[in-house]
């Protein structure tokens, strides 16, 4: 088995006095696609924020060999832990190109910036064609594509994608899932996909976790989890 890239142990986080995540433990190995599913308000986005260093947190988070639970967001980001946030959070008034370049903000090397841009355009050629248009005018699926591309511009080691499928048609979601697989296969980027949509999340995942009220309640192979009667009852209503 490959080495552990992200190891979370007894993680606690919340907002002010309200604890949302309670003693959460899970791991993501190098080169894996791991999906973490949970229903509304389970704490998925809170987890993303805690891992990225945007919320106060307790417990241990090891990433690429460093303990990052006490680090500032900027440092964690520069270690290669990059998230595609829920709701995409694009710079809507700025061009696609500017959005992408913001992903490489910490890269001060023009040549390297250009190289990254070319690689991202290889993956999403449509973004190259429409690079000078405002990000805000794109369709939902395209905006998600821009958000993923922007994150790739940071050359992540671990790409965390929050609720990628929200509000998108199934065909579009399938395309984006294919892109995530390509990102892992061709670039060796490890992916943590956080989703409400169990089917799409587990369709490409190697392993999965189920999150309920701030706790991991199930874990295992993606295929097993989709078959799990509990999961099916809770998430698919079957």
């Amino acid at each position: 088995m490959s080495e552990v890239l992200l190891g979370v142990d007894k993680l606690g986080a919340g907002y002010g006095d309200m604890a949302v995540l309670l003693d959460m433990s899970f791991e993501v190995r190098q080169g894996e696609i791991v999906s973490l599913v949970g229903s509304n308000g389970a704490g998925k986005t809170t987890l993303m924020r805690a891992l990225s260093g945007l919320l106060p947190r307790k417990g241990s988070i090891r990433f690429a060999g460093s303990e990052i639970s006490g680090m500032a967001a900027e440092r964690i980001f520069s270690l290669g832990l990059v998230q595609v946030p829920e709701g995409r959070q694009l710079f809507g008034q700025m061009s696609v190109l500017d959005n992408l370049l913001m992903g490489a903000y910490l890269c001060r090397d023009k040549k390297e910036e250009k190289r990254r841009l070319e690689r991202v355009f290889e993956l999403f050629p449509i973004l190259q064609e429409r690079r000078s248009q405002r990000a805000g005018v794109f369709s939902g699926g395209e905006q998600q594509m821009i958000a993923i591309a922007r994150a790739l511009m940071a050359e992540p080691r671990l790409l965390m994608v929050d609720e990628m499928s929200l509000g998108l048609a199934p065909v579009i979601v399938d395309k984006l899932l294919d892109a995530l697989v390509a990102i892992r296969d061709e670039r060796g980027v490890t992916v943590l996909l956080v989703e409400q949509d169990v089917f799409s999340a587990f369709s490409i995942a190697d392993r999965g976790y189920v999150l309920e009220l701030g706790k991991i309640v199930r874990e295992g192979n993606a295929e097993e989890l989709v078959e799990d009667p509990e999961v099916r009852r809770a998430y698919l209503g079957i």
Binding site: S52, A73, F77, Q89, L90, F91, Q93, M94, D98, Y105
Partner: protein, 287 residues
């Protein structure tokens, strides 16, 4: 006819300077969501910096300008870093109160250090001028106009093309996302505020070459900058050129047809008018 042409040119030249005056205010407003009431104080301090670099340091005022801007940049950076960063993103009222306080302190200190006497920056070429299709154009007036426009366009290019400029725009639009990609908001706010101050300082230096300065010139210039920023809008830095030229022309023609004492009445009349006609434009950004 000649007179109208002359007045028109005067208005245009004045307007270019006004554009630069408002530019820093609009930048800080758009990015930090702070209407900086101390903006005029930075203009005033920039004028004094230029004045003393010229009279004390014997540096040509136009060459002293970048130096004066640098000084005010540093001042702005410190104020943002140690005072305003404490209240950034708080309610509009709080930021107004604090920046008003800064304005009072800076004006008071200027009065103690520089005295209340009027001063002018008078380079040897101050009196020379040339004819342009029948109108008299002082060289200083024209240079201030050219420099003001060049700095304004320069800032616009910087925001559009430079890495830091892009980050400033991104932070103005979506702070959360900008942080996500490694922007440190504290540093970025400090740089933005300092830039706004430096632009004010530069405008002040130019102002001192075409007008008299004393410690109290700040407040009315803050108000004018505010009016121009509203007319021009905050989304495009070049908008202040439109607002500045408009105000410059209105003031020049008011001076001619109604009387020089009424220029301020005219500019604030416009401000009130714009606030009545386009209140959503302002509320949309400040709410």
């Amino acid at each position: 006819m000649d007179l109208i042409w002359q007045i028109f040119l005067n208005g245009i030249f004045l307007g270019g300077l006004y554009a630069l005056m408002a530019l820093g205010l609009a930048l800080v407003w758009g990015v930090l969501n702070i209407v900086n009431l101390a903006h005029g104080a930075f203009i005033m301090l920039g004028a004094y910096a230029c004045y003393y670099l010229y009279t004390g340091g014997h540096i040509d005022p136009f060459l002293a300008l970048p130096l004066a801007m640098l000084i005010i940049f540093a001042l702005g950076y410190l104020i943002q870093r140690f005072v305003l960063n404490l209240i950034v993103r708080s309610a509009m009222f709080t930021t107004l109160l604090i920046t008003f306080g800064i304005d009072v302190v800076l004006t008071y200190m200027a009065q103690i250090i520089f005295t209340a006497d009027f001063k002018t920056i008078n380079p040897p070429y101050a009196g020379s001028n040339f004819q342009l299709f029948g109108a008299t154009v002082p060289y200083v007036q024209m240079f201030t106009f050219v420099v003001a426009l060049a700095v304004t366009v320069g800032l616009s290019v910087f925001l559009r093309r430079a890495r830091l400029g892009r980050a400033i725009r991104a932070t103005a639009q979506n702070l959360t996302a900008a942080r996500l990609y490694g922007v440190n908001p504290r540093t970025l706010y400090a740089i933005t505020f300092a830039l706004g101050a430096a632009l004010a300082g530069g405008a002040g230096g130019l102002y001192g070459m075409v007008s008299q300065i004393n410690p109290y010139i700040g407040a009315p210039l803050t108000a004018k900058s505010f009016a121009i920023a509203i007319i021009g809008g905050l989304d495009n830095p070049l908008g202040v050129i439109v607002g500045g030229l408009f105000l410059g022309l209105v003031e020049s023609f008011t001076a001619l047809y109604i009387g020089p004492t009424y220029t301020s009445v005219a500019s604030f009349g416009i401000l009130v008018l714009v606030l009545i006609i386009r209140p959503t434009g302002i509320l949309g950004r400040t709410a």
